[in-house]
Symmetry: C2
Subunit: 307 residues, 2 copies
Amino acid sequence: VTEAEFSAPEGVRENALTVCIVGLGLMGGSLALAWRAPLPGAPLPAWPARIIAVNRSWPALEAALDRGAIDQGTPDLVEGVAFADVVVWATPVRTILRQLPEVGRHARRGALIMDLGSSKVEICTALADLDEGLQVIGAHPLCGKEIAGFAAADAGLYRDRPFVLCPLSRTGPAAVRLAERLATAAGARPLIADPSEHDRAVAAISHLPYAVAAALTRSVALHGAGLAWSLAASGFRDTSRLAAQDVDMMLDTLLTNRAAVLDSIDAFSRELAGLRQALAAADEPALRACLSEAQSGRSGIARVAKW
Amino acid sequence: VTEAEFSAPEGVRENALTVCIVGLGLMGGSLALAWRAPLPGAPLPAWPARIIAVNRSWPALEAALDRGAIDQGTPDLVEGVAFADVVVWATPVRTILRQLPEVGRHARRGALIMDLGSSKVEICTALADLDEGLQVIGAHPLCGKEIAGFAAADAGLYRDRPFVLCPLSRTGPAAVRLAERLATAAGARPLIADPSEHDRAVAAISHLPYAVAAALTRSVALHGAGLAWSLAASGFRDTSRLAAQDVDMMLDTLLTNRAAVLDSIDAFSRELAGLRQALAAADEPALRACLSEAQSGRSGIARVAKW
């Protein structure tokens, strides 16, 4: 690492960087595994140098130590963050909001505080209130799967996924660069965005699909097992997949991004009502136009999203 | 094949069976490929003995001949069905409804007429009107993918998928057995059901998910490319996947299963409205119950559907 690339907190050599991951579930665990399984050709084979994990229960910490994902684990938040150059929050959003002030008091001066929460406006507001001696940045990697917990963690989870970073006005350029390098080291593609813009975008493409998957599943599940359950094939499986996501995480996500999610649900409901009306009237030209626009719209999104 | 297993039309040795597939797209093409790529341990390495395909354009027929999927191809429906022991319709539903009477006049006496259409009430009503000298059965294999056409055909498409059969009161037991063997020979799991029961079930688990995917895609696509498109990850990709399905096929499916699809859309809309209400009120216990029931409901469906 040359001096020019240096972007660690003041006084820390970047190649000696210590990171503390708070919450060793799917997201935190996969991040640790990704950092410890560098991409082919990566210049630094084990970077960050030291990974500490904080988790409320021991089994995930022990499993992570066994798999070589972390160097040290503790259930004590204050102990975990005390010597970290970077603290990464990988818990549900409201846990982050609740614990941030305490961590702000115990983190070392100059440390970078970032998070992986799925909504950003409330978190960035809380980050802005932390001690001025800390660097802060909001983050949200667009990846996941429907199984929670460290057992489901996967070194490839972040690979080629967008990793949104929301710097605050107080965030210094070196902190932004460090966050970008941490995202890149996990295989992800860092992307700078405004918190409100982020929250509206993920309401539409992540939180709304979850709400839709939950309602779809309920509309089939609550009628009890019958022929429909036996026939539910890959179409239903994929459309309903998000309903299997971790409820605690999604509850926090929806409740901290309420206005944007409600707007997205309303926009969706208007589209479904339009489709329903064309079908009820057996208006074939209108129905064809509606379905064709959906089909070509999806191709457009697929090109931009690089599926 | 022993005499006891014999279930071909009168006067036809089952191991000399000739099948005509009408419509050589994804479904018809995959069926031909599946029959020509038998499962390990299958007793009859090439059964049905002869596969004829009828398709309105030549390129798919030529591609299928090149891949060894069919023995003979023609764009002429009357020529294709004239010597077939079994005619399998693999076109959109309204094409089947339009062409059935003509085929009924030209098919050989004792031939089995079946279809692969995604809705069954209207087709079974039309099958009931065919000449009494023909055997008839409605069918619907629960498989597919979002790419249409023979180029996307796949010998494994039917593997382990439910293959619904709707015998009419006039359908003889030998015809049912033959249809079951044809489904099994493609790797699928035959399942007998009533047409109305089938149509209500697929409205809920197939046609509703398509409508929801189309409305979801429109709600994101019609606002134009922006951050949302760049961030659309696997969650949005999977939830919206069905919107990419062939519009002609789905238009026919929705329009011929209108009442059941409208009922399913309404049941879904009530569920989404309930979720929206709990979120708007920030009623955490109600929202948690709603999302938890969706999560456990999906596990229940997954067990029955054997994902």
